[in-house]
Amino acid sequence: MSSRWLRALTLNIVLLILAAGLSVAVGAVTIPLKDLGRLLWHAVRGLPAPQDVPSYYATIVFDLRLPHAALVLLAGSALGSSGAAYQGVFRNPLADPYLLGVASGAGLGAVVALSLAWPQTQGGMFGLPAAAFLGAVVTVALVYALARVDGTVPATTLILAGVAVGALATALTSFLMLQSEGTLRRAMTYLMGGAPLGGWAPVLAMLPYWLVGQAVLLASGHALNVLQFGEEQAQQLGLHAQRAKTVILAAASLTTAAAVAFAGIIGFIGLVVPHIVRLLWGEDYRWEIPLSLLGGGTALLLSDLLARTLLAPQTLPVGIVTALFGAPFFLWVLQRTKRQAA
């Protein structure tokens, strides 16, 4: 039983490391894996870069590729685990930070904060996810209230409410962006799925929010399992059901907000990854959350790699790549859900 899960965990960790290595190595200048390995190994031991590796490799790896890969990895894993958590709380396989409108809400929060003041300092950057979190929480509360029918959340109302609230948030975001000054506007386009911010500053600013959110989600697996029997039975099994749901939704929204604040609004990772995890390894949220976390990182790293290389030297917004794979998957899930309900 649990050795099967440990194998799944190991496999996902290996895949994530491979994807991260590929992401750092491949680009306009492709760095041979041998050189990349030696660069990293020297850096880990605190030694200067080896003499026979071109010096600009080090600049590319440590100043450009590594922070970019770290940001993408953190964002993808955030979307993966929060997607699994949303699906668990709503007991609905179509829930996902993007389809629920939470990502758009977080984006709006971040843009409002940016339009008030563009963060010039690391301290200012720490404020960005907080603003995104506010936007995300307001959105999820609104969507939940709109979608709830007699204590359950049917797929149809959930998606309708999510799309409507998400559209409203996106419209407000676009309006604010068009109103803003030129430099600010360009800086903001990443939120709509453009290239994310560069450098280590956004990674460091995202990390504390990511850690808190992920820690809570990882600890929520058992509660999510109990909640699959509905709120009333969960309560009868000894879970403070309402409180557990609130905590998990808050943590999922915090994790989503951390991702959106610096990587922009990216759809479908949170839908597709938990689904594949369930298909391959069955349903147990104590494992589904960590597996979706790892798988989300891998999926977004690979999507980002495609976005950078498909039309190189042009870089596609990564959201286009995830939607290209994710939207047909969504339709397939919808079809399956429909058949199960019939």
């Binding site: 697996g221 509660a223 879970l239 059901a241 069955g282």
Partner: protein
């Protein structure tokens, strides 16, 4: 008396659905709650299991105020067998039964040897061991109902509440579930309250029957004393004959 329900009233918003219900049960008794739809039987179970707060009254188990407990503490005393509907399809039988240990587990939900033992025993006693790794979606309605019974047994509580456990089941599975309940009540001294629509099953398996109507208990006594033709006609607005088989339970049939 082990379980005391004292002048309990419950409301949904402004509407009062239970009016000062008084019931006392000794340890190990099976009490059937019967009566027409909307008479307040399920509402009583919801109050006892802590999912609905009463507007007045008290519930005590051996002197302990059940209503003042946290969900976790209450779940160590009261287990509920709901109707098998809308279950998570991909869960295995063992997973579902293990969730009965929730009131004893840490927040990570990792079961210890004591928990595994309780789950194993519950699976064995409900004949579910051969099905332990099957998914809930692959089970029949009767098997799913047995899973929920096993989950409640794994909870190891002195009080067991059942909400129409035999609805949707065929005759064999109805008898099977209720025999198990009766057996556990005798062996483990479980105090059982079960909402049940079939008056004949109530008469056959319960020690006493409480007849509900409009949120009050009209009568509570042994089946022969409660299930009379006159009283059933009055409460259900349907005329019936009650047959008495020598040394058997009263049998309720519709009148011509």
């Amino acid at each position: 008396m082990a379980l005391e329900i004292i002048h309990l009233s419950a409301c949904y918003g402004e509407r009062r659905v239970l009016h000062g219900v008084d019931l006392t049960l000794p340890r190990g008794e099976i009490l059937a709650l019967v009566g027409p739809n909307g008479a307040g039987k399920t509402t009583l179970l919801r109050v006892l299991s802590g999912t609905l707060r009463p507007c007045s009254g008290a519930v005590r188990w051996e002197g302990v105020d059940l209503l003042a407990l946290s969900p976790r503490e209450r779940a160590q005393l009261v287990a509920v067998v709901p109707q098998a509907r809308d279950l998570p399809a991909a869960f295995t039988v063992e997973q579902a039964v293990t969730l009965g240990r929730t009131p004893y587990l840490s927040w990570l939900g990792a079961p210890g040897p004591r928990d595994r033992q309780a789950v194993e025993r519950a699976l064995a006693e409900t004949d579910l061991l051969p099905l332990a790794s099957r998914r809930l979606a692959q089970l029949s309605g009767g098997e799913q109902q047995r899973v929920l019974l096993a989950r409640a047994l794994a909870q190891e509580t002195p009080i067991l509440l059942l909400d129409e456990p035999t609805t949707h089941l065929d005759l064999r599975h109805q008898a099977n579930i209720l025999r198990l309940v009766q057996q556990f009540s005798r062996e483990r001294g479980l105090t059982v309250l079960m909402v049940i629509h079939d008056l004949n099953l109530a008469a056959r398996f319960a020690d006493r029957v409480a007849l509900f109507d409009h949120g009050t208990v009209l009568a509570v006594d042994e089946p022969e004393a409660v299930l009379t033709a006159d009283r059933i006609a009055e409460v259900y607005h349907t005329s019936v004959n009650v047959l008495h088989i020598p040394q058997g339970h009263p049998v309720v049939v519709l009148a011509e």
